[in-house]
Each structure stands twice: as C-alpha cells, then as structure tokens.
Symmetry: D2
Subunit: 283 residues, 4 copies
C-alpha cells in the first residue's frame, strides 16, 4: 500500500482553506491506496481544535484513510479521536507525548492503550519532528495490543524495520522515509506513507509492485531514479512539498506562517521534478 500524507492548505494569510483541502484530497485519492490526513506533512500541530475539526469535515475520502494525532495529553487527544472516528477513519496514527517526554514514564503506555481502547491505531515514529524516541522495547510491548495494528516509522533507521520484521509477527510496518524505501521493503515493510507519493504516486506504486513480484532489478532502478526526489523532499519538508504541488497546479496552498512560502531547496528540486515529469512519473 502506498499512501500520501496530504498537506493541509492555508492561504497566504495563514487561514485554513477547507475547499482547497477537499479538492486536493480528491485529486490525489484516485492515484493511491488511501490517504493520511494530518500526518507528518499535514501540519496537524498547526491547527486549533476547531480548525482541525473543520478541515476533517471538509473531506469525504472513499478509500481507507488514517488520521494523524500528535497531541500532548489524553484530554487534548479525545476530541481529535472522536472526530476521526465519526468521519470514518480506518485508524489513528499517533505520536508519543513529547514536551515533557522525560517525565512520561509508564504514561507512554497509558496514552496509547487509552486511545486504542476506543479506536484502532498505528504508532507513529517520526523523530525528525517529535524529537523523542519510541524505543523498540516499547514498540514490542504495545504491539501486543489487539487494536495497535502497526507502525509508521519515518526515521529511516532500518535497524528498526529489521527488528519489526524479525520479531513482531503480524505487526504492520510502514516506512515514511522515501530514500530508503526499497531497503525497508526488503526488511519487511508492508508499504510506504511517503510525502513523495503526493508527487509521484504511480512511481512508488510501481516500485512496490516490482518488489512484490520479484522484479528486483526493476525495483532497484526505480529506487535509484527516485532517490533525489525523496532525499530532497526529506530535507525541504512541508514548504518544499507545497511549493512543488502548487507548481503542478494542485491547490496545496502555503505553509502556515511563520514557515516560509518558498523553500531554499526549490532550485535543486525543480529539475528533479521536471526530469521525472518528462518520464511520466509525476502525478
């Protein structure tokens, strides 16, 4: 499965644009296996609770979708969980509480277990953003919960992926790190939830299929061809992704201020994007 973490559109003044959000989701959905809303590239932490609800209500996905939940405490998480459930999300994608992570202790397990009682979820390990660890021992313990279905691991640390594959049977691992996508698949990942799949959905689906059908040479060639796309996007983040989507004519809007409208990586990214577009891999 290939899912894009779709961006949340803001206008240049930083106002949420629900119409654009729906249009963007509808443009991307046919090309992929489902959507991730408010995930790593969805600026979930840039919304007030009201805006968060408003945005979600603007969408009506037909394919399975996940909703990201990057809150700090259980009372704050409850509203977001209810909305996701009500809107028919397949599962939540949940980062650990982070601001006071050093004194969280067993609260880590209470947090995930309290949410999982009410709705299926995936763990979400994205230390580039959360800047906290989700130790392998904790993942193994949480994996035993029947409603904790798997993990999205965006760290790019494939020793973690190898651990999931070798020791957690039935636990579904998705990578969020495009530059090592094929490596993750070889170590047991089920698919990718990739920012780059907002831009090159067919390419990542083709790569996955080549791998699954044993066409390794083709998979490797595609992995190498896509490397600069995923690599630069990992460096440029939300501003670069939104700029690229705008360039392609999609209503992705702008990052919320004070994040920059234009990415310093754009001059390096544009030729990569255009090169792949010429080969038919973009959207």
């Amino acid at each position: 499965m290939i899912l894009p973490p779709i961006p949340t559109p803001f206008d240049r003044q930083g106002r949420l644009d629900p119409g654009a959000f729906r249009a963007l989701a509808e443009a991307l959905e046919p090309l992929v296996d489902g959507l991730l809303v408010y995930g790593s590239n969805g600026e979930g932490v840039h919304l007030t609770p009201q805006e968060r609800a408003l945005g979600l209500r603007a969408l009506a996905p037909r394919k399975p979708f996940l909703v990201g939940l990057m809150e700090e405490t259980l009372p704050q998480a409850e509203g977001a969980l209810e909305e996701a459930k009500e809107r028919g999300a397949f599962a939540l994608l949940v980062t650990p509480p982070r601001y006071y992570h050093g004194s969280l202790g067993e609260g880590l397990f209470r947090y995930y277990e309290a949410l999982a009682e009410r709705m299926p979820l995936f763990l979400y390990h994205v230390p580039q953003n959360t800047r906290v660890d989700l130790p392998l021992e904790a993942v193994a313990r949480l994996a035993a919960h029947p409603q904790i279905l798997g993990i999205k691991d965006s760290s790019g640390d494939l020793a973690r992926m190898a651990f999931y594959g070798a020791t957690l049977k039935g636990f579904r691992a998705y990578t969020g790190h495009a530059p090592t996508f094929l490596g993750a698949l070889a170590l047991g990942a089920e698919g990718g939830i990739l920012a780059a799949a907002n831009l090159a959905p067919k390419a990542y689906k083709a790569l996955l299929q080549a791998f699954q059908e044993g066409r390794m040479a083709e998979a490797r060639a595609l992995q190498e061809r896509l490397f600069p796309l995923g690599d630069l996007l990992a460096k440029g983040g939300v501003p670069l992704l939104k700029q690229a989507l705008r360039h392609l004519g999609l209503p992705a809007g702008y990052p919320r201020p004070p994040y920059p409208e234009e990415s310093p990586f754009w001059p390096r990214f544009l030729p990569v994007l255009e090169g792949l577009r010429e080969e038919g891999w973009i959207l």
Copy 2:
C-alpha cells in the same frame, strides 16, 4: 529577581481547576518577585486555547508576571498573545516553533518579530522540552529588537550565559537551571526563573542577595546546600514539582494524563525537601 514558573492545577481526571490555580498563585506571589504562568513547569502545551484563556482569567497577580507562549505558528500564537496583553502581563516568554523546525529558516525571525511588534517579550530557550536549538547568532540578531528584552535560558549551558554577558549589553538573561544558579550569576545572569523557587523561594532570594552584596562564601554555601533540590527537580519535572507542592499542602493538583501522578524521584526527593524545611528554607 526570582520568579517561579507556577504549575497549572488539574484534578485527577485531568480537568483544569481555575480556583486552585488562583489559590496557588496567591500563595506563592508574596514570597517572590513575580510569576511565570504557562512556562516550563506550567504545562502551557497541555491546554486547549479555551482552557488557556480560562486559566489566565482566574489569576489576578499584583506583581509583574510573564506568560509563556509555546505555540507552533503565528495564527495559533495570536490568541494567546491577546489574552496575555489583556490580562496585564509584563511580557511574553516565547519558545521557537518546533515541530517543523528543520524547515523554519528565516521564519524564526519573522515569528519573534511579529510577536514583538505587539508586546514585549523574552526569548525562551529550554531545549530539554522543545528539543530545538536557539543558536547564539540568532539570539544576538533578535536582541537588537527593542521589544525583545532578554532571554530565559534553561539549558544549563553556561557558555551561552557567558556569551550573553560578554557580548549582548543590556540584554537581560535569566537562568532556568537551578543546579548552576550561582555560576549563571557570576557570568552575568540577572536572576532566576526556577521551578525550585516554587518550593524554596526565600532560599533562592537569599542566594541572589548574597551574590549581589559580594558575600560569595555565603552564596556558595547556599548554592551547595540547594544543589540536590534543583538537581532532582530538573530530573523529575512537573510530576515531582506537583507532588512536592501537594505534600506541602498547596493546591498544585496533578499532571495532566497520561503523565504520572507520582514521580519515581519522590523517595529521593522527600528527605531533601524535609531537610531544607527543617532549616526554614521551604516556602
């Protein structure tokens, strides 16, 4: 100046308790030079915008007070700024946007400058929690703004304090790191905004006064005497601080779930607290 970052009381179910908040603030205020609300130990990030406003309206400090602002974007920060201004706060205490910090770039300056246009502020460097850096070059650049008055630096990295003291004249530096308090003063800090000052306000005021009056031997003896209090509190964080205040009969409430009600450091902390209480240093 000695200011405590006062905790925000929640009941055991995690509900904000505005009455307790006011009672706690009124109990502490007479013992110190002012208050920090929603700061490092104030769980500002654990509140919805509504709760945040509700809590602030419950307080009526007579001494100067700062309001912590740990938001991610300008639109989210605006409400908090307005409330702080309306309630008569002396200044804001502002952490950098953090979740997408890697793609913030010049947005760091836009963020602080946009807020400083509307209200005086202090920078807030607390990497234990924010997990992002606030480089010295950035501090020096921001220090030139007339409404950016200074910094609270909780890192305990005194090379930063030495830099402020030696190169940023008129820029007011406060330390948030009790275990090195006297070292920070020697390198130019103006005072402390210290979690431990919620428990031992007189002691930290006495230490500061001894330093200011050149009684270094007395200052050093007090610094060493207080070391375990500050050191353990830095490790135990909010759960330990609230547990200690409850033990002393103050309405500090509980950390918001899933954070633990009781700290694993309590058995080591209790004798330290009681020892200092016997000597008359606690509250």
Copy 3:
C-alpha cells in the same frame, strides 16, 4: 563478497598471541571470500606499532585481505601503510582522524589522498567507534580518486547506502551492519564485512547468494533468522565476539585489558548461537 573482520587474540594478561592469530585466520579463511585484519573488531587501536607489525607478519592469507588503519595523523599512518603493502594487502580500510576532528577541515582530504597515492583504499565509516561523521559530500568528493575504491559503512544508516547506490557509480559499498544486511543489498551494497561472519560465514554467504539470484523470499527468511545474531553482536562488540569464538573452540583469545573477558550479553547470545548451530549455520 563476505569478509569477516577477524579478532586479534590476546592472552589473559593482554599479550598479543601471534600464533593464535595465524591459527584463527587460517580457520576462517576457507569459509569466506577474504579477510579484514585490524578492522572494526580487530582492535587495531589496541596495539603499539611494533605489535601491529608483529601481528601482521604472523599472517599469510591466500585470499584478498584488507588492513584496517585507524590512525590520527599521516606520520603515524605511514608505518602501518608500509607494512600492509609489504604483506600484500589488497587495500587499506581507513577511518578519518578523530581526536581533533573539529579542527581537521580540509585535512580530511589531504589525509585520504596522501594515503591513496601510495595504495588503494576503502573509506571506513564506523561512527559507533570513531564517533565522527564522514559526510556524504566528503565521500562523494573522495570517491572521485581512482585509488579510493569504495567504502565500508558500518553505521547502519541505510540512507547513506541509498546515496552511494544512487549517486556514486562504480563506487563499491560494503555494509558492516549485519542487522540490516538485506536492506543494504537492496539499496546497492556489494557485500558485507560483518563481525557475525566470523561465526556464521556460510549463512551470510547463502543470504548474499539468494539475493543475487533473485530468491527474495529465501533471502528474507534468512535475514530474519540471522537478525538476533547480528543485533546482539552489534551491542556486545569485541568481548562478545571473542567469547563466542572461544566457545566454538577457536583461538580468538581475550579482549585487551581493561576490556572485560566476558560479555554481559552472553546469556542472551548463547541460545541464539546454539540455535543457529543446530541448523548448521555456525562455522
């Protein structure tokens, strides 16, 4: 190609044992494609220059062998280079100078280029031990030198492997990180120089061959089966490797004092080793 970084035997008093060294090398060589002497697990940094020469002269490998060179300056590296050349090593495996790495600057390139003028070499990135980075930009620049043949990358950071595969054509990448071995192969690694290949040489050769022949299911099964061996060995290091080899009756000797004779990981490692031995994968 699968190469083991063979350990350097010391007796319990910490004296180098050249006879054991030769016996160990001769026992392992027939099972693998070549040897790495004085590499990550070879304690090259635990030898005086005289001992280093003495040890090397005790060996007479018939297959291609690499010699590790983990020196701090060019004058110190020269003796080691001469000995390796004289003994017929295929190439050096060279870590960056590390103790004053922060002020090395362009010296990094002078170092590698001066050595490469005299003998082919591989870069050696093993940040667990050297604790310095070898940035991708530096690797790319050095890869242009005709006598810098490739890299052994033990970091387990497969984004690096993906970078080599996608951007450095003809540059030979070997992984030193067993837990992600198959991931590294999928991203373009040519083989492995693996501590675990001292214990399970046939298994890693079989894994490599299965991958190369497109038998991915078999490769994955073997990767997962070998995961605990590589994972624990990465954690236990030299003391664990030597203890395991002694257990298997090989003359690996002891780590040099003050390193411990027995590893705290041994109780967890022994059943893994015995389990694999029963399946015929050990030596």
Copy 4:
C-alpha cells in the same frame, strides 16, 4: 592554580622537535603555576610511543607538571605511565578508553584503579575530543580512591562542576573551558587548565586572584574581556593555538599533518589577540 596545556611542536614535515618543545616549556613555565604536557592541546595521541618518550625527556620543568594519558588499553598505558613517573610528573591526567567504549563496562573502573595503584592521577573529561561520557556516578565512585585526586573537566557543562562542588568534598576540580571560567570558580573549581593560558597567563591568574579575594566586579570585567579569546580558541583548537603562539614568536611549531597549518579562525582571532596584547594581557 592556572596551568597551560602546552602544545607539542612539530616542524612543517610533521617531525617532533624536542628542542623547540623544551624552549616553549621554559618560556611559559615562569608565567604559570605548572604545566600540562600531552594534554588536550598537547597532541599526545599524535605521537608514537617512542616520540612520546623522546619529547618528555626533552623537558625539565621545575614547577609541578601533569602528563596527559589518552590511551586505549592498560598495556598501552603502562609505558606512558612509567615515563611520566620517572620524569617526576606530579600526576597523570587520564581519559577513559574510547574506541570500544560501548563494551567497556566495569573496565572503566579497572582502568583507572590499575593506573592509580601506581601513581596519583586526575580524571580527564574532554568529550569534545574523546566523544565519550564520564558519568557523574562513575566520577563519584572513582573519587573515593585515595590516589584519584580530582578531575579536569573541559566539557563546559557546569552542572558537572556544581555536582563536584556540592557532593565530592576534597575532590579537586579544574576546568578546561575558558569561556565559562568564572562560572566554574563560583561553583567550586579550584583553578583552570586552559589553552588560553598559553597566551594570556597573567590575565587568567589575575582573574582567579580577583575571584579568590572577593573582588567580583573585577573578576567579572576580566571574564567578559577574555571571553572572545577563550571562545575562539575553543572553536579553533590546536591549529589556532599554534598559529597564535608562532605569531607571538614562540617555538610552538605546526600541527601534525594532515591537520592544517593555519586556522580558518585566525582572521577573527588576530584582532582579539592584538587587542589584549595592547592592554598588556598577552604573555
């Protein structure tokens, strides 16, 4: 006490220059309280055992001197210890074994205790170079040994200094971090072993004396005045220190290749050095 870690002179071809070494030591010794040979700025790790002995025999200090020992194992450390003892060193200054630090375990204590049986020593914590930690718990345990006299802590992490001062009575702490020197003194350091004391010995002696005599305003003014000297030297390291000493006419020689002869910090450092020289603070 103020001690400089004196550099070890090499000529431009990287050959050790024992005559220059002696001349440099004799030029500096009268201005300070003693010397540190082969310490943080002494490139001890850049010498073969023979060179190390040769250099030490060239010196004949009259004041107390320490000898740095940055070896990896006990057998390697023994020769260095014997030479230091024979030459009349007051004590060793000993870093932890580092290359395989992750599997050292209790070997850390065996290492220090075996050396301390034979000669008094100071622990040496300089994580910028060794890149390993020396945990406070380990320091506390080692401090109980009668021949382990104290520590040189160059980390600049003054929470460590506060810990020594508050909890390890009689344990002698020296800082190696000039930018925070006065902060370290305030927290209990006994003095400094400072690269900058090679250049401005009188200034650091004056700062220490002002502190000891309670003239805090003077101490603070001097601390701030010296800040850029210590700060830039911490960044520029050995190449900058040697370049500055050569500029002042002292026979410090060059860093060993491939380290650069000239520091990129020199253009910023020269005016600082000249400014202090005009005020009479340089040598």
